[in-house]
């Protein structure tokens, strides 16, 4: 492992550069205050603005284990290395994880998408992180590793407060386990301009259709971004929609969703938000916009479900 001491005059910053995952985990144990850095799209901004001065940076870009992704056999889960960039989510995972690819397309600029990683997005734990709503909707889990072993943290339990996550000081994010899409996924966000901006609010939706004969009655996943102290789910909206779809036999019939269902889903999604007023938007606007995004993403997702069913019937 390379170690560099940067800075001068007693304000040294250690720069730890492990080349294997084992080294990285050991380094984190030895330097629990070290801030992991991958693309640097969050960490370097904070350092440049002198919002934080970590005693050590732990550079993870030379750890090959972190940059891979694989489709674990059988269980339909995709394991994404923490170092997979937004650009690769778009280029390589649009088929398996379309919602994540959609969210990645809305991140920053091409330069940011080439540098920024899913692990970094999670680690920063910003309420506005673009991947978070999708991971919440998908029911993903964060794999954390330390010298003490590994553990899985459900994404819904990962975000504790603005910029605070559930990692222990000796832990690193090694991968994210995301169930592969088995139904339509959608992601939408509103910002003050099209790119290079922090979202005013964002919403992600996943439909998991019922499986005939399996006893699986289908389910719904949601995720809300930029409208609360952490990324949030909207459990009441999920239960309401899953109930309607099952009770009315809509999974099977693939009939149109009645407008009151769309509106009620939107209301429940907006009610789950805990927005504040800030320079980017008022709480009232955020709640309203979330309702619009929830209704639209549901309409789009249901349209694509119906189209898929139609296609299979024709085929």
């Amino acid at each position: 492992m390379t170690r560099l001491s940067l800075g001068k005059h007693g304000k040294a910053m250690e720069f730890l550069q492990p080349t294997t995952l084992a080294e990285a985990i050991e380094a984190k144990a030895a330097h629990p205050g070290a801030v992991p850095i991958a693309g640097g799209t969050d960490v370097m901004v904070e350092i440049n603005f002198d919002m934080r001065r970590p005693g050590a940076l732990l550079d993870l870009t030379r750890v090959p284990e972190l940059t891979c992704w694989e489709q674990a056999s059988g269980d339909g889960v995709v394991r994404l290395g923490a170092g997979v960039t937004y650009a690769r989510l778009i280029a390589e995972l649009g088929g398996l994880l379309p919602g994540l690819a959609m969210a990645a397309r809305t991140v920053g600029s091409p330069q940011i998408r080439n540098r920024g990683t899913i692990g970094g997005n999670l680690g920063a734990a910003s309420p506005a992180g673009d991947c978070h709503p999708v991971l919440l909707a998908a029911g993903a889990a964060v794999q954390a590793a330390s010298v003490r072993g590994t553990r899985l943290i459900p994404v819904a339990e990962f975000f504790l407060a603005p910029k605070r996550n559930a990692l222990h000081s000796d832990e690193l994010i090694t991968s994210v386990l995301v169930p592969r899409a088995r139904g339509p996924q959608q992601f939408a966000k509103i910002g003050t301009r099209n790119a290079m901006v922090i979202a005013v609010c964002a919403f992600a939706l996943e439909l998991r259709p019922a499986r005939v004969g399996s006893g699986d009655e289908g389910s719904v996943g949601t995720g809300i971004g930029s409208a609360g102290p952490t990324p949030l789910r909207a459990p009441a909206a999920e239960e309401f929609l899953a109930g309607v779809l099952a009770d009315a036999g809509l999974w099977e019939s693939a009939g149109p969703l009645p407008d009151p269902v769309l509106r009620r889903f939107a209301e429940l999604a907006a009610a789950a938000a805990r927005p504040i007023d800030d320079v980017r938007g008022t709480a009232a606007y955020r709640r309203h916009a979330l309702a619009v995004l929830a209704r639209r993403t549901l309409a789009w997702a249901w349209d694509s479900y119906r189209a898929g069913r139609g296609a299979s019937r024709c085929g």
Binding site: K11, R193, A195, V197, V200, Y285
Partner: protein, 766 residues
């Protein structure tokens, strides 16, 4: 064939695109120390003490200074005689800080990063004072005075507010009045501010500063340093954009020079983006009350504009910009009666300066919104209302009620052309279809007609500019100009103008500018003046040079000057009828220095005009507006290089449109800036812009031989109200009459909410 009017590619670009420019931060200055400014973190406070002792102990710190160390320096004199000397900004705050970002100390270090750290160690003991942020409250003075010695927060007034006619709107069928906001924006040039300075043993200063006119910068530096301008040499490196905010010099520039003198060592400074956003002057920042009245046939009888200008904490150029807004208040319209008055007030915010258009965009925004408010009230197509009220075509200068002398114009033709180019009636049909269908995404069509003033100048005898053209024995030529390009492409166009007269290829012509030892006089670049005065001077100098050369050639050839013909193809004089007897300019230059310096004087400013049409789609559910089309006519007289003129129009449209729906620099109630990075300040990017549709129209001016008017700011002026009007128009059928800028998704949603509530309230109870 003439090279003028052709699409010559910018000769500047190969260097910018390959080797890169040499900006002030790139200028080599061995041994230079770095100046770091310690800026106020609070908007308004009495300074009890500034303690630099801890900073002095920090690594790399050479020195630290506070306002108390600057005792020998004069206070800058006010920007105008209207302004109280009490409101002068000391180079470093002395007893009171008045905005977040105001310099209050400097730390000087070996390396730039050391200064950033050491600045944090400067301890400022504050006694907080109430922040005055809202200009209305500032004007009332109830929440406190920034300068108690001045007795008021009102820095200047324009026009006679007490003399406004109570009967101005008598006889009008319809009168509409509304207060609208022309919000504060940040110039945000690609290159932020910088300076590098060194003094020679004789006590003469050389300062490298990115600026818009080295001569003006020299005068400003000399005044702030209390020295003779002859003791100052300003050199202008490449400049990465200015937009009006790099004219003259700021306190920081003078302080870098002062530090270099005090320490006997070169000094330099280059600010960060975060520093730039709070400490470079801002632009616009007017609150306007428009009142418009007329008859239901669409004729406007009277218009009144009342301006409240937020000048920021210290009156700079922005404090006097309302004068330009008032001058252009009626725009291109033949209103029967017009009144305009203004007050400039100081607030605890960043000082306001010039910003692309500087006072004229504010005038256009006000009158174009007023026209649309009036059109909505009488339920008439806004294009028709404009058509009915535009001044008819004129070829002799037209003097307005405010004393502006419009040189030439055909405003109805510009409007007709833009409507035709955009397919106006088809757009209205599409809008009607969408309204009938009732979908979430509605279409809006916005218009603006404008006329603006360019190249005003303040010189006795009319606006002027100088140029020198010299031909060298090797066949090359040098142009010296008093203009100051910072992206405009003068090197290309000035060479085209000289080449046209002299027959010297573009590649052999070098343009020099921005070094006050080389070009001691000049008006710089701003107010869209450069081509019509600086370019005209180059043409005039080249023509005078040919005359001079003709005299000398006649002597050499022992012929009468009248018998010689100048063959630009060969750059040579020949005897008429005997082309073999000739003498080239190079030979003349070899025998005696061949150079002419001349001053071009214009009879007055010119008034470019045009019409813009914007098409937006507004999502009435999220409130998001998307700009779909911008079609413009920007008539700036004769165009010398269409590619460069179009570049100015493109940039202008983007910058103007950005004000309509994206950009705003904002503060909280305590005066803390809220938009201090580009993540929060929604600086426009290419993805928000459609491809622009530019229609051509050229009405030459007689005020210079080129026939050229200014094009640098025109499209900014036209675009803002066109886009804002389009956004309001998309929502008109839902009862919305106005949305303040920037029309963000939230603002549009709020306007729809308010209209919906108002609409329900108006419905009869059943």
């Amino acid at each position: 064939m003439s090279i003028l009017g052709t699409r010559v590619l910018r000769t500047e670009d190969p260097r910018f695109l390959t080797a890169g420019g040499v900006y002030t931060a790139d200028v080599a200055l061995p041994g230079a120390c770095h100046v770091q400014f310690v800026r106020s973190a609070v908007a308004h406070a009495r300074i009890r003490a500034v303690d630099v002792s801890a900073a002095l102990q920090a690594p790399g710190v050479i020195a630290a200074f506070t306002g108390a160390d600057l005792g020998g320096l004069p206070l800058p004199s006010p920007v105008s005689r209207r302004i109280s000397a009490e409101m002068a900004q000391p180079l470093l705050a002395r007893d009171v800080v008045r905005y977040v970002g105001e310099p209050l100390a400097v730390v000087v270090t070996d390396a730039a990063y050391q200064g950033e750290d050491a600045a944090d160690l400067v301890d400022v003991d504050h006694q907080m004072l109430p922040a005055v942020i809202d200009p209305e409250q500032a004007a009332a003075g109830a929440s406190g005075l920034l300068f108690p010695g001045a007795g008021s927060n009102i820095a200047a007034t324009f026009g006679d507010a007490a003399g406004l006619r109570p009967d101005l709107f008598d006889g009008c069928d319809v009168v509409v009045s509304r207060t609208i906001v022309n919000q504060r924006v940040a110039p945000a040039p690609m290159e932020a501010r910088a300076a590098a300075a060194t003094w020679d043993p004789g006590g003469r200063l050389t300062a490298w500063i990115p600026n818009q006119g080295a001569q003006d910068t020299r005068a400003a530096l000399a005044a702030m340093l209390g020295i003779d301008p002859a003791q100052v040499r300003v050199i202008t490196p490449d400049v990465g954009g200015a937009f009006g905010a790099k004219f003259g010099a700021d306190p920081e520039h003078a302080l870098v020079c002062w530090v270099a003198r005090r320490l006997g060592r070169p000094a330099r400074w280059a600010e960060t983006r975060a520093e730039n956003l709070v400490a470079m002057t801002h632009g616009r920042a007017q609150r306007q009350t428009v009142t418009i009245g007329g008859s239901r046939d669409g004729t406007v009888a009277a218009y009144r504009l009342e301006i409240l200008q937020d000048a920021g904490a210290y009156p700079r150029f922005g404090a006097v910009l309302p004068a330009a807004t008032i001058l252009m208040a009626p725009g291109p319209y033949a209103f029967g009666r017009v009144e305009a008055v203004a007050r400039s007030v100081v607030t605890n915010t960043t000082p306001v300066g010039a910003y692309r258009g500087a006072g004229r965009p504010e005038a256009t925004a006000a009158v174009e919104r007023a026209i649309d408010l009036f059109a909505a009230e009488i339920v008439m197509d806004p294009a028709e209302v404009r058509r009915k009220n535009l001044l008819p075509r004129f070829t002799e200068p037209h003097t307005t009620a405010f004393g502006a002398v419009y040189d030439s114009g055909d405003y109805p033709a510009a409007l007709a052309k833009v409507l035709d180019a955009a397919g106006y009636s088809g757009l209205r049909d599409e809008q009607a279809r969408r309204r009938a269908a009732g979908g979430a995404v509605q279409l809006g069509i916005g218009l603006s007609c404008y006329v603006e003033i360019t190249g005003p100048g303040v010189e006795a005898g009319g606006p002027s500019e100088n140029a020198t053209v010299e031909i060298h024995p090797d066949g090359s030529a040098t142009i010296l100009t008093g203009t100051s390009p910072h992206g405009q492409g003068h090197a290309t166009v000035w060479a085209m103008l000289a080449s046209e007269e002299l027959g010297i290829p573009l590649g052999e012509i070098t343009m020099k500018w921005g070094d006050t030892d080389l070009v001691p006089e000049g008006g710089g670049t701003g107010g869209s003046r450069s081509l019509q005065q600086g370019g005209a001077a180059v043409q005039q100098a080249a023509r005078e040079l040919v005359s001079l050369a003709r005299q000398r050639a006649a002597r050499q050839l022992e012929a009468s000057p009248a018998d010689l013909v100048f063959d630009a193809g060969r750059s040579a004089f020949a005897v008429a009828g005997d082309p073999d007897i000739s003498v080239p300019l190079t030979a003349l230059a070899a025998s005696e220095r061949l150079a002419v310096r001349t001053v071009f004087r214009a009879p007055g400013p010119t008034f470019p005009f045009g019409a813009h049409l914007a098409v937006v789609e507004v999502d009435t559910e999220t409130g998001k507006a998307v700009l779909r089309r911008v079609v413009t006519v920007d008539d700036a007289g004769t165009v010398i290089n269409p590619t460069l003129a179009e570049g100015q129009r493109h940039g202008g449209i983007a910058q103007g449109a950005a004000q309509a729906f994206l950009e705003e620099f904002s503060y909280d109630a305590d005066g803390n800036p809220l938009t201090t990075t580009f993540a929060d300040y929604a600086f426009v990017s290419a993805t928000e812009m459609p491809s622009f549709e530019l229609a051509d129209m050229a009405t030459p001016t007689r005020y210079n031989p080129l026939g050229a008017k200014g094009i640098g700011e025109a499209a900014t002026i036209g675009a803002t109200p066109a886009v804002q009007n389009a956004i309001v128009d998309a929502l008109a059928h839902l009862g919305v009459r106005h949305v303040d800028m920037p029309a963000s998704p939230q603002r549009i949603w709020e306007a729809l909410q308010a209209a919906s509530v108002a609409g329900r309230a108006q419905q009869p109870q059943t």
